[in-house]
Symmetry: C2
Subunit: 228 residues, 2 copies
DNA sequence: CCGAGTTTTCGAACGCGTTCTTAAATTAAC
DNA sequence: GTTAATTTAAGAACGCGTTCGAAAACTCGG
């Protein structure tokens, strides 16, 4: 007599592993060895299955990393959002940015097709907050989507450029010989030449929030202007 | 008696290939087969040398693609820049964007460390134009660098997201079944739920220049405000 | 003419993500 | 009880970027 509430309904060979187990093992390996040393083969070995088995539970490595990000994203604490709509947009966007910037492997997945639309409910709450802020400020829903997309481009670009520049800064710091730009034609490029090594000083500065403020200022101004 | 003007000064085995030849062959392969099918091995076979030989003329594949971009960049026509500083910033930035967006393989290289600082003189002319516009508008040189960096983040993000979303739109277009977002909790995400499939209509729109205008507006306003 | 030094070439090999194919283990139908 | 259908597992293999080490081809000092 079959048990009525038994979870066995499907035919086929019973699985020895699960997507949840894979994600857990991946998190463990990343925490121990760093995300750059995470490979499909080592992950499979960690679990004790063949490498190709993982492809039954995960589309590919990109998908795996996206699922990881989504898992983390569900645990991101949403800050109390300010009353003022414009400030609400900025705080929500900065929260998204800080969360993604904290996971170095996010850079590998950030530009996958439809990234936003595949997010879970909790991360989507921050997207919603950006839209709500723009709409409360007086934008149409269409314009609010445009506002979010523009912020998203800026945010993705900042994270990607920064994460690929992270190699520097580890060692001595004075090991930065040579002109920052290859010898510059001071006649044709006067401002760049005048900057000299100053570029190297300015480039690593964290100006994300400042730029975000400028962007949101401009975007929201466009929104109400279009309304008139 | 050695010939005084003979070009042979170096010792060692004479090279059978050159960086220029490699780049030319790479361009040919890309033009014929598409950049996605360009591999180091096939490129070497095209030239008629061993695969590992290429690594004496090029650091790695990323370096190869960067050199290709730089070559193309030297041929980009610089538009006549407007008088007004703000408009000059926008036109220069849009020129950079359009050039990069036209080379799909640019996305692979855009975030390499120090991308900007390794550019040749001609592409750097557009960077110079952005800086000059900001400074002419009343920004300090430091602020002008910040302006450029912010624009750069926005531009890189836009190109990367778009290039990874390029898969769609090829086929029928009506093959877009299912909700664009996975079933949305209309209680917690009202605006997203209200948008529904509208997101799919808005997302592919090219709003780069609009967003750029908003960003530059805000950035330059910050600059003169800081001046007071 | 001959070794030392130098630069380039290239085959072998590594680890990677991924695909293909075959085998194993279960349920459902007769 | 046997057979079919179905789902998962996993070994073999492919092409990839890249590293390593040895061999080749040159210049130069004696």
């Amino acid at each position: 007599m079959p048990q009525a509430n038994a979870p066995r309904l499907k035919a086929g060979r019973p699985p020895t592993t699960s997507r949840a187990q894979i994600l857990a093992a991946a998190r463990g390996l990343i925490d121990r060895n760093g995300w750059e040393r995470l490979t499909i083969r080592k992950l499979a070995a960690e679990i004790g299955v063949g490498a190709t088995t993982l492809y039954h539970h995960v589309q590919d490595k990109e998908d795996l990393l996206f699922l990881l990000i989504n898992e983390y994203g569900e645990q991101v604490v949403h800050p109390r959002l300010p009353e003022e709509p414009q400030e609400r947009v900025i705080v929500a966007a900065a929260t998204i940015h800080d969360a993604l910037a904290a996971w170095p492997w996010a850079a590998e997945v950030l530009t996958t097709d439809g990234f936003i639309t595949r997010l879970g409910d909790s991360p989507l709450g921050l997207v919603e907050a950006v839209l709500a802020g723009a709409i409360d400020h007086g934008c149409t829903p269409d314009h609010a989507v445009y506002v979010f997309r523009s912020i998203w481009y800026y945010t993705v670009g900042e994270i990607l450029v920064r994460s690929h520049t992270a190699r520097r800064g580890g060692g001595d710091g004075a090991n930065h010989r040579g002109p920052f730009f290859g010898n510059i034609d001071a006649e044709k490029l006067p401002h760049l030449a005048a900057l000299g090594d100053r570029w190297a000083v300015l480039a690593p500065r964290d100006t994300y929030v400042d730029g975000l403020r400028a962007l949101v200022d401009g975007l929201l101004a466009q929104g109400v202007q279009a309304e008139s």
